[in-house]
């Protein structure tokens, strides 16, 4: 049996921007898929897909959308309705009819609100030169607030002082319960008042979130299990394993489990393949370590869809780093196969795991294939450049 016939978990083995979106699109276009399930992150994801001349940077919608595959946002995803609506409009422009009807959301998913976003931006600006490389989309703040239950003002939770009296974090299911939502948002607004006051009041948000709840299908219970029983699922990871909240390099991490562990949780023991996505060189946005960083790599491979983010900082690049790749794979508890992207890049080099200087890498595919089966190969974000191989599992062989 081919590795990719069943459920597939797609994780990035770098600092993000490995090509997860294009790989998910290629997997969905390759054979029937019941749904793409997002298992971490939120509106900060930016997965570029180009298919038949249509381009979209997928953020909360799954990258299988151009292939007509519905998206399920699991309970591990942070949902930001304003950004979701804006993304739905962009997808309509790209020719996807009523994209919101392709979406289902677990009611337990946390809501990212304007309060979180403004607080996130205020904190990052206050850090000045010590920025973490945040996207400024309130992701970390949403997670942090959700951890404060029972904390008192002045306490320090996860290295941040609790600035007021916290309450329960609002969830997607609350959007359909205006009185619950209003209570939670009132508490949230009071909590963040010392840090940031967004223009939108609670009343306006309650109305808007109610419309959001009407427009998308909100699920409870084990929706992922139901979908998995109906057919093949592709799990789309956001960010990269090297930014993981437990395995990344603090403080330059995302407040998210980027390894396959959430997906495994959702699958509840069902068989699956883990597909690790890597470029033929390393990239990252903003601050944080990049040991093999090289100006020559950056100059050689200009990006069509990535540039300097206002909050994230500069786009950076470096040679392939064998030690980091091995580390990322280990952080996943191993992966079954690799998806290698940007194979059109020439003049590649790799820094071997022993830390010796970079050496030329004339045949990157052979280098990767010597480590793990290579199940997907690709170049840019365009589906036309992707091939899905009938890779066999070494585990089940």
């Amino acid at each position: 049996m081919s590795l990719l016939d069943g459920h597939v978990v797609v994780v990035g083995l770098g600092f993000g921007d490995e090509g997860k979106g294009a790989v998910v699109d290629a997997l969905c276009a390759d054979r029937p898929t019941t749904a793409v399930v997002r298992f971490n992150g939120g509106a900060q994801a930016a997965h570029n897909v180009v298919a038949h001349g249509r381009h979209h940077t997928f953020s909360q919608f799954g990258a299988g959308t151009f292939a007509g595959v519905p998206t399920h946002l699991s309970r591990f995803v942070l949902v930001e309705p304003f950004a979701l609506a804006a993304e739905a409009r962009r997808l309509e422009t790209a020719g996807v009819r009523n994209p919101l009807s392709l979406l289902s959301v677990d009611g337990r998913a946390l809501l990212t609100t304007p309060f979180h976003i403004h607080a996130n931006r205020a904190r990052e600006e206050a850090r000045g030169a010590e920025r973490h490389g945040s996207c400024g989309k309130g992701i970390g703040e949403t997670v942090w607030y959700s951890l404060l239950s029972g904390a008192l003002p002045g306490e320090v939770v996860e290295n941040q002082e609790v600035i007021g009296t916290p309450g329960e974090a609002p969830t997607v299911a609350d959007c359909a319960r205006p009185s619950v939502l209003r209570r939670k948002l009132d508490t949230l607004a009071r909590f963040y008042a010392p840090l940031a006051v967004p223009r939108h009041g609670v009343d306006e948000l309650v109305t808007l979130y109610r419309a959001f709840a009407d427009a998308v299908r909100i699920t409870d219970g084990d929706e992922t299990g139901r979908l998995a029983a109906a057919g093949r699922l592709v799990f789309e990871g956001a960010q990269g394993v090297l930014l993981d909240q437990h395995h990344g390099f603090h403080p330059h991490t995302t407040w998210s489990t980027t390894t396959p562990h959430n997906a495994r949780d959702l699958l509840g023991g069902r068989p699956h393949a883990v597909l690790g996505v890597t470029r033929t060189y390393l990239t990252r946005h903003g601050a944080g370590p990049l040991p093999t960083e090289s100006a020559s790599v950056l100059a050689r491979f200009p990006e069509a869809h990535n540039d300097t983010g206002e909050f994230q900082g500069a786009w950076r690049a470096g040679h392939l780093d064998e030690a980091l790749l091995d580390y990322a794979i280990a952080a996943c508890d191993g992966v079954d196969a690799l998806a290698v992207t940007h194979l059109d890049a020439a003049g590649l080099r790799v820094v071997p795991g022993d830390g010796s200087p970079a050496v030329d890498l004339p045949d990157p595919l052979a280098w990767f294939a010597a480590r793990l089966p290579v199940a997907v190969t690709g170049s840019g974000p365009d589906r036309a450049g992707y091939r899905v191989a009938e890779a066999r599992s070494r585990i089940n062989a």
Partner: protein, 324 residues
């Protein structure tokens, strides 16, 4: 704050959510979209697999005339299918009321992309009552399409040529009316595998689309309507392609909301019941004042005809499908 430009999206976000909810009123599409994509399929009444559609005379309707309206439901058509879905239901009434045809029977269908869509063809049944509305509501608006500027119109044409039986033709040698509404090109070839999968005929070789349209033209007056608000309204390649196949039966329509009136007026002209001026006056009489301007513009070419003619070969022309 300086970085709050997304705040300006509040109004737009609310509008987006409301619009998405409104679309759910179209029950079949909404229900299907709640299911995994692999379960998407045409409603049983619209599934062309191994199907034959019939337009028969009856005691009540002794002079039946078949009218088939098949519209492209892929993404490039944007909101046009929904606009049409909402307005085509009154087509039958319009034809009857103005006396253009004694016994019109109307069939609706939908066209997608056999290369990339799960539901590339839906074909309803000829109806002469409000079951037509139900057909329109159960058309699945998949909204996919392959993005190669071509859709499977020729697959629909093949079905209409081979799988439709009409008393109008059998008993009276009278052609039916077929309106294809879309904005893209035919596929370069009608692929045998698509015919087998979607329609069920055991065809083993690919077919030249032009030959399908020649065969179709023996029993049908075929029109292609390119409505505004679709992706390729101003693309000359579309017009050249369809004019090449259908001659002056290629019509551009400014207002997609006027499609029902355009079909009625076209039939009135072809039946030589009315001229363009009378047809437009009729539209005004039935309250389609705004639509009549768009129809008048679309019909400018047809209206110059004194006799109903067509650029496609008449029944004596080649009838065999050309294989390649």
């Amino acid at each position: 704050m300086g970085h709050g430009h997304w705040d300006d999206n509040a109004y737009a976000a609310a509008k987006t959510f409301r619009a998405a909810k409104g679309e759910d009123d179209f029950g079949y599409s909404a229900d299907l979209r709640a299911k995994p994509a692999k379960d998407w399929k045409a409603a049983a009444a619209l599934d062309p697999k191994n199907a034959v559609r019939e337009c028969r005379d009856s005691a009540d309707h002794t002079d039946s005339t078949p009218i088939a309206v098949l519209f492209d439901v892929t993404g490039s058509m944007r909101r046009v299918p929904r606009i049409m879905q909402g307005k085509l239901g009154k087509l039958h009434g319009l034809l009857k009321r103005r006396g253009y045809l004694a016994d019109p029977q109307v069939l609706f269908g939908a066209i997608g992309d056999a290369d990339s869509d799960r539901v590339p063809l839906q074909i309803g049944q000829f109806e002469s009552d409000n079951r037509m509305d139900e057909q329109l509501r159960t058309i699945f608006l998949e909204g996919g399409g392959g993005g190669q500027k071509s859709e499977s119109y020729e697959l629909a044409a093949y079905f209409m040529a081979r799988h439709v039986v009409t008393d109008a033709w059998r008993e009276r040698g009278r052609k039916g009316y077929l309106f294809l509404i879309g904005d893209e090109l035919n596929k370069p070839a009608l692929e045998a595998r698509h015919i087998r999968r979607v329609i069920g005929d055991d065809v083993r070789e690919d077919i030249d689309p032009a030959s399908v349209y020649r065969e179709l033209a023996r029993k049908w007056n075929v029109y292609f309507v390119l409505p505004n608000q679709s992706s390729y309204y101003n693309d000359p390649e579309i017009g050249e392609h369809w004019s090449g196949l259908l001659g002056q039966n290629f019509l551009k329509l400014d207002d997609p909301g006027a499609v029902c009136e355009l079909i009625a007026a076209t039939i009135g002209l072809e039946e030589q019941v009315v001229d363009v001026d009378r047809a437009l006056a009729d539209l005004a009489d039935v309250g389609s004042v705004a639509e009549s301007a768009a129809v008048g513009k679309a019909l400018a070419k047809l209206g110059t005809k004194t006799v109903v003619t067509s650029a496609v070969p008449e029944p004596g022309g080649p009838s065999d499908v050309v294989l390649r």
